[in-house]
């Protein structure tokens, strides 16, 4: 499982399973435990659902189900809970739409096992995070990359970025919005190119 280094340092996060969570506990839990599983979840959905155009909506619905259930009672293992929710969701969806899902009911164990093979050594987690971010940044169009770098690396305000780049404030906002959206998909989903691990 991929680790996210800037999350989960609050001591309050480690409440025991089974307990109810407040909104902020649930948020912290979701960021720390569920979002790092996104690459695994998408892999599972792609394998078990034919229509690719539905996948983002399916992911969103699964997240909502996971989040709501977790607020009532914190799951013991986020990974098996997310995969179980995904499987049940696909089965429901297949029933509603009278589609026979491919493998939906059976493939869940094998994905869970596969995922262990990806687990990076903990000592390289920090490096992996930086590499994943870098890979994600590299994939952005030049302007989007520039606004993110100016905002998050150089620490400029929106107005300062507009002045430096000689574009309107609205253009800065638009670039940033699309840049963040694209970054989130790359960053949360992609494994690092193994050639970069050396």
């Amino acid at each position: 499982m991929v680790e996210f280094l800037d999350t989960g340092r609050d001591t309050t996060d480690l409440r025991s399973p089974g307990a109810e969570m407040t909104v902020s506990e649930a948020d912290a839990w979701f960021v720390r435990e569920v979002l790092p599983l996104e690459s695994l979840l998408m892999q599972y959905l792609r394998r078990n659902w034919r229509d690719r155009s539905d996948l983002e909506d399916i992911r969103q619905d699964i997240y909502v189900r996971v989040y709501r259930a977790a607020r009532e009672e914190r799951p013991k293992s986020a990974k098996s809970f997310v995969l179980r929710t995904a499987r049940n969701y696909l089965i429901d969806l297949a029933r509603q739409s009278h589609i026979v899902p491919i493998d939906a009911a059976v493939d869940f164990e094998s994905v869970a096992i596969d995922s262990e093979a990806f687990a990076p050594d903990r000592t390289v987690a920090a490096r992996q995070e930086l590499l994943r971010l870098q890979d994600a940044l590299d994939k952005l169009p030049p302007r989007q990359r520039e606004v993110i770098e100016l905002a998050r690396i150089e620490g400029f305000s929106g107005q300062e970025i507009a002045t430096r780049m000689g574009i309107t404030r609205a253009a800065v906002s638009l670039h940033l919005k699309h840049a963040l959206h694209a970054l989130s998909d790359h960053y949360l989903r992609e494994q690092i190119d193994p050639r970069r691990r050396s």
Partner: protein
């Protein structure tokens, strides 16, 4: 997916990304806040989309320390982040293993102070202010302006040299803490800022927008928790605030602390992680003072005290009944 009126997940994600950049980079008014609150509350899907986009925003902030080093090389103008990052990432690991702390300079007057896991650094500023950086933290001083510092992530303690005409301010996760003659600590995590006040007083307020809406005046013993959507202040006994600063002396001080929380604290300071194999032991109460970097000693004390089993596996120390 059956309701035609529902926005697609991609639309929701884009709106969330827009809120993240609006909140962080532009003037933020009470009207913006009200609009944002209404949007967040409108559906769990919106709430989750915001969390998800915000994680990426925060993660991108971690690249700042890396960028500092590359721009310090003479003769390179506007260097690319790409290739250098890989070597710096490797260097960060070496540093983390060696428990060293290091400083990057870019502009002669810009400085970013970084500590690795287990690190601790004292920064004495020209004006007499003293800053202590805790484990896995980064602090930026831009343009030599020592009265305005930014905590990029992690935790720091500030013993401020007070100057009524030039107040000292710390920025972290969209909030600004302004001193009125103070000793305080600031901890920035993924989604929140925690400010504990020891002496004097300070004001916590969002960096942009109308301050009156969400700001607080802190007095000794006050602990403020500020997140994207709210700011709360709780009073804690002086002893408890002082205990939370045990890290300044390399100590972790627990009083009726649950084992799960104590283990999480140790894990902030050590690359060898303590894991609870058995959730039944998560609620065991821990009392005592421990050396933050000596999680082995902690594990063996707990082992004896509660008769637990300790198994080392790779980089983990597993505790179970």
């Amino acid at each position: 997916m059956t309701e035609t009126s529902r926005p697609t997940a991609t639309d929701t994600d884009l709106v969330a990304a827009d809120w993240v950049q609006r909140r962080n980079l532009w003037t933020w008014t009470e009207m913006d806040q009200a609009e944002f609150d209404a949007w967040l509350a409108a559906s769990d899907a919106n709430h989750i989309a915001y969390l998800r986009q915000n994680v990426v925003w925060n993660a991108a902030g971690r690249l700042s320390a890396v960028r500092q080093q590359q721009s310090m090389r003479p003769g390179t103008s506007a260097p690319k982040l790409g290739t250098l990052l890989r070597s710096v990432a490797a260097a960060a690991i070496v540093a983390a293993v060696g428990f060293a702390s290091f400083v990057y300079f870019s502009h002669p007057l810009d400085a970013t102070y970084v500590t690795p896991v287990g690190g601790h650094k004292i920064i004495a500023l020209a004006d007499g202010t003293r800053i202590e950086l805790n484990t896995d933290s980064a602090l930026r001083i831009r343009g030599g302006d020592v009265r305005h510092v930014t905590l990029l992530h992690g935790e720091a303690y500030f013993d401020v040299h007070h100057d009524g005409t030039d107040p000292f301010a710390v920025t972290a996760n969209g909030y600004r803490i302004t001193d009125l003659g103070t000793k305080f600590s600031v901890r920035a995590s993924a989604s929140a800022v925690r400010v504990s006040l020891l002496e004097g007083s300070a004001v916590v307020a969002p960096v942009t927008g109308q301050k009156a809406h969400r700001s607080a005046l802190l007095m000794p013993g006050d602990v403020a928790m500020a997140s994207a959507s709210k700011l709360t202040v709780e009073k804690e006994p002086a002893a408890s605030v002082a205990s939370s600063l045990g890290w300044r002396h390399g100590l972790l001080i627990f009083k009726d602390t649950e084992l799960a929380d104590a283990a999480a604290e140790f894990n902030r300071y050590n690359t060898r992680k303590i894991k609870l194999e058995d959730q039944a032991i998560a609620h065991l109460k821990i009392n005592g003072t421990f050396q933050a970097e000596n999680s082995e000693l902690f594990a063996s004390s707990i082992q004896e005290l509660f008769g637990l089993r300790v198994i080392k596996s790779g980089n983990d120390t597993m505790l179970s009944r």
